[in-house]
Amino acid sequence: MAEKVYAGKTVSVTDDGYLTDPNQWTKEIAIEIAKEEGIELTDKHFAVIEYIREKTLKGEALTIRTIGKSGMVDTKGFYELFPGAPLKKASRIAGIAKPSSCV
């Protein structure tokens, strides 16, 4: 575990850069993490991020498929917003834990 400063705030992060406490998250932090991922956040991004935060903090395990069926964004759109590995990138920007696929 390490500490990192985003938007003037010190937060603790895992080795691969995920916030360890979702309560430390702010929109400003999200913008800076997104920059590290090469993404400029738009309102559409934030809508998806808020959705992911809400569901995850309620204890639901999300997959790319569930997000694609959520009505928020379809799977293709999700990939366009967060290219390459959308759920991993979106989770990191949303300040929640790295999605773990069960073995």
Partner: protein, 409 residues
């Protein structure tokens, strides 16, 4: 007379029928098992059929021969369950009421979920090996195939037996080497995971094995559709992989009746307490194995270990005691790696697969995350254990709970 209904006579349902009939008085408790299929398939054996190591009759026996005396066995499709009425409706109009329900209807491939998959190339140059028919069709195809690009794809997570596609890749490599056409075959392993497997240590070990065998891994590949006209698979981010032979693990989903009953999530898995194995919503419903949404592998070994916990908790519920048995997510998988060798992983909710020895610490005989001959024999012997001991609910010399003894951190 009180009633237990078990839905599904696969590994889990059969084990539970055997365990429960032994302890519940016959004049107090009736036990009924329902399954739509008369045949019991030894599913770990499907892997070997494409390569002619097993043939189609080696993995099939009638389900009825594993259901104990004193248990009613109905072969019919389930229409739906109305959990608030404690009632199961079958498609033939039969109605079953229950005091306790055990759901063990597993997970199944749904090729139609992927556009273009079930088209003119299905079972011509596109195969699955998760069904008896698919594995047999692939065996026929491979007998005369002269080489080209073989693509292995995992369409969606989670899927049953997460090591099977890796084993398939390793065995295919051996098959083509022995056939003398390995230089004419390119093997591509496309997966939505970021590496060969999920957790760091096993992913590294298995990734290196893939590399050693010249199997090209294409990670983070999330399948959108199959273009069967041009024979390529396309991911959501627009990457294309051409194939001459596609072996796919299609989208896996829980049983259709779960959807018809409104009891599952969007993959038809039922929300289940991962420790007690009781439904999160209904106190008299327990869910065993692949049908549940518990965060561990969908695999027979998990079902086997979980059945001990489910049994203890169901008896506790019957007797009105608190459910104190806790499932730890224990999973144990042999991994065929080709050329008569195998590996083994052992893990649970908290602990990733680690190197070491199993089941006896320091002795083995099996090596965890090691590539050995004895591991391969473990897998070979397992088929006998499955038919003769495991399904009948007999004690095996293995602990349900995972142990750290014998593991190296």
């Amino acid at each position: 007379m009180k009633k237990i209904v078990i839905l599904g006579a696969g590994t889990g349902g059969t084990i539970m029928a055997n365990k429960l009939r032994k302890v519940l008085e016959r004049d107090e408790w009736s036990i009924t098992v329902v399954d739509k299929e008369p045949n019991h398939y030894y599913q770990p054996g499907f892997l070997f059929i494409p390569f002619g190591i097993y043939n189609k009759h080696d993995v099939v026996k009638p389900k009825a021969s594993f259901i104990p005396a004193g248990v009613k066995f109905i072969i019919n499709e389930i229409d739906r369950v109305e959990p608030d009425k404690n009632t199961v409706y079958l498609t033939n109009g039969q109605i079953l009421e229950y005091d306790f329900l055990i759901v063990a209807t597993g997970t199944h491939i749904k090729p139609a979920e992927t556009p273009g998959l079930v088209g003119r190339e299905w079972r011509k140059s596109i195969f699955d090996f998760y069904t008896h028919e698919g594995a047999v069709a692939l065996q026929t195809f491979l007998k005369t195939w002269e080489g080209g690009d073989m693509v292995i794809n995992i369409a969606e997570l989670p899927f049953k037996c997460p090591v099977a596609p890796l084993e398939f890749a390793f065995l295919a490599d051996e098959f083509f080497v022995k056939k003398g056409i390995r230089d004419k075959v390119n093997i591509y392993y496309t997966t939505p995971l970021s590496g060969a497997f999920t957790k760091p240590k096993s992913s590294k070990m298995l990734g290196e094995l893939l590399q050693e065998k010249n199997i090209h891994i294409i990670p983070d590949f999330y399948l959108e559709r199959v273009d069967d006209e041009n024979k390529k698979i396309i991911s959501y981010d627009g990457r294309e992989v051409k194939f001459d032979l596609l072996t796919i693990i299609p989208v896996n989903m829980g049983a259709d009746w779960v959807a018809r009953s409104g009891m599952g999530d969007d993959m038809n898995y039922i929300a289940t307490d991962k420790y007690t194995l009781r439904s999160e919503k209904w106190e008299n419903i327990f869910v065993l194995g692949d049908a549940s949404n518990i965060p561990t592998s969908k695999a027979g070994s998990v079902v086997h270990f979980a059945s001990d916990v489910l049994f203890d908790n169901l008896i506790a519920a019957i007797e009105g005691r608190p459910l104190i048995a806790k499932f730890d997510g224990h999973s144990n998988c042999y991994i065929e790696t080709g050329f008569g060798k195998g590996s083994l992983i052992d893990f649970n909710y908290e602990t990733e697969p680690l190197p070491g020895t199993y089941p006896l610490p320091g002795i083995g005989p099996f090596g965890l995350l090691k590539n050995t001959r004895i591991n391969h024999y473990g897998k070979v012997m397992f088929r006998w254990i499955y038919w003769h001991l495991l399904l009948k609910g007999k004690e095996l010399p293995l602990e349900s709970q995972m142990t750290m003894a014998g593991k190296e951190l």
